[in-house]
């Protein structure tokens, strides 16, 4: 690894990840919120923007996102030793607990108090996920806000349109992400905003409204181009 930053030792990292892995009942939402607390809020090892970018890159590779996300954090903090410490810490306790629960599952499965506790934890995970959503939105919107209100509006539009495509229209996630990525490229590269529908060769009829609505606002495009140059 080329840049070794003066971060924590691998052993310290192992301990932190083990705590995250062993405590995060409630699955992905809880794990993500715990990672943010430990790595960004408490210790400032991962910036808000890095947190978002790592998560975005991890959504582009196969397998469990949380693992590819954690690999990037471990690598930034302590290179290959950091990756090893991260994966062992995150996975060893939680895997052992998983095996133990599987072995004893039939015993507790129909035990009413157990069911009741589970019914309490699931909506709590939704609350945690919503907080993580707001926290991850913040650096992105702050960046947009610096470029003006129109840019902020477009960014909110991206979030809203994607959420609607996945959540309400039930489109496959990869399609929504691909459209957002292409729209993002179009917004910064198109010389004239009105041309987008002719220049995007992959646009299907049903995709046009989304791309058009995102690219027909002239000011954010100009603003972004100024920012980059």
């Amino acid at each position: 690894m080329k840049e070794e930053i003066a971060g924590p030792t691998a052993w310290k990292l192992l301990g932190i990840w083990a705590l995250i892995g062993a405590q995060s009942f409630g699955g992905g939402p809880t794990t993500l919120q715990s990672i943010r607390r430990e790595m960004t809020l408490k210790r400032g090892w991962i910036t808000e923007m890095e947190f978002v970018h790592f998560w975005t890159l991890s959504s582009l590779v196969p397998g469990i996102n949380m693992l590819s996300f954690a690999i990037q954090i471990g690598r930034k903090l302590a290179g290959w030793r950091g990756i090893a410490a991260t994966l062992i810490g995150l996975l060893l306790p939680s895997t052992l607990i998983t095996v133990a629960i599987t072995a004893g599952f039939s015993a507790v499965q129909n035990w009413p108090p157990f069911q009741a506790m589970l019914r309490g934890i699931l909506p709590a995970a939704a609350g945690l996920m919503f907080v993580t959503f707001l926290q991850m939105t913040r650096p992105l919107l702050r960046e947009s806000r610096r470029q003006g209100w129109a840019s902020l509006g477009v960014s909110l539009g991206f979030i809203g349109v994607t959420a609607a495509m996945i959540g309400l229209l039930r489109w496959p996630v990869w399609l929504a992400l691909l459209l957002a990525m292409l729209s993002g490229v179009l917004l910064v590269t198109l010389p004239l905003p009105g041309r987008s529908q002719l220049q995007n060769p992959t646009a299907l009829p049903s995709q046009k409204p989304v791309l058009e609505s995102l690219s027909e606002r002239p000011s954010p495009v100009e603003q972004q181009r100024q920012d980059i140059s």
């Binding site: 995060s24 469990i64 996102n65 589970l118 019914r119 609350g127 996920m129 959503f133 959540g167």
Partner: protein, 168 residues
């Protein structure tokens, strides 16, 4: 059964899917067709996956244990461990081209969309069948406690489990 075939079924499912449960359809098809697992195994593994701490994808570990004992755990564990390393290659490429305007635009659009999909996960969880106004109150309370950033996450979960025990 052949451990190599078993491992290949798991790694194939993991390589051609994303997310914690993306590998489910492929595993279900291959394991059931080969008589290596039953629907009951899948039901139990997924249920265990809802309870265990850590990433969502650990339900596969449970499936490994149910279908092939401790060897199954080791093989399933290895199969979910390998594909995420591809992110290192991706981030190496990304760092070389990240300054280009088009790449910046792509990253920005994609980041906003990925964040938007977290909103979907949150609303799917809260509008899941079986969650009524009492569940929404628990969700709202955990939202407030988490937003304050003062209460440890594990304490929020303990309180939610306690509320479930008392009211649900």
């Amino acid at each position: 059964m052949n451990p190599l075939v078993y491992f290949l079924i798991f790694i194939k499912a993991s390589l051609f899917s994303t997310g914690g449960f993306g590998n489910l359809p492929s595993l279900h098809q291959d394991l059931i067709d080969n008589g290596l697992a039953t629907d009951a195994d899948f039901g139990q593994a997924i249920a265990v996956g809802q309870i265990t701490p850590g990433p969502n994808g650990l339900w596969v570990i449970s499936l490994g244990y149910l279908t092939y004992g401790f060897l199954g755990v080791v093989l399933a564990f290895t199969a979910i461990l390998i594909p995420p390393f591809l992110v290192l290659a991706l981030s190496a490429v990304y760092r070389k081209i990240e300054h280009k305007p088009s790449v910046k635009g792509a990253m920005r659009g994609l980041s906003l969309a990925v964040v938007g999909s977290l909103l979907v996960i949150s609303s799917l969880l809260i509008f899941a069948p079986g969650i009524d106004w009492r569940g929404w109150l628990i969700g709202l309370a955990s939202f407030g406690l988490a937003l304050s950033q003062r209460v440890p996450v594990i304490l929020i979960l303990v309180l939610a489990a306690g509320a479930g025990l008392l009211f649900l």
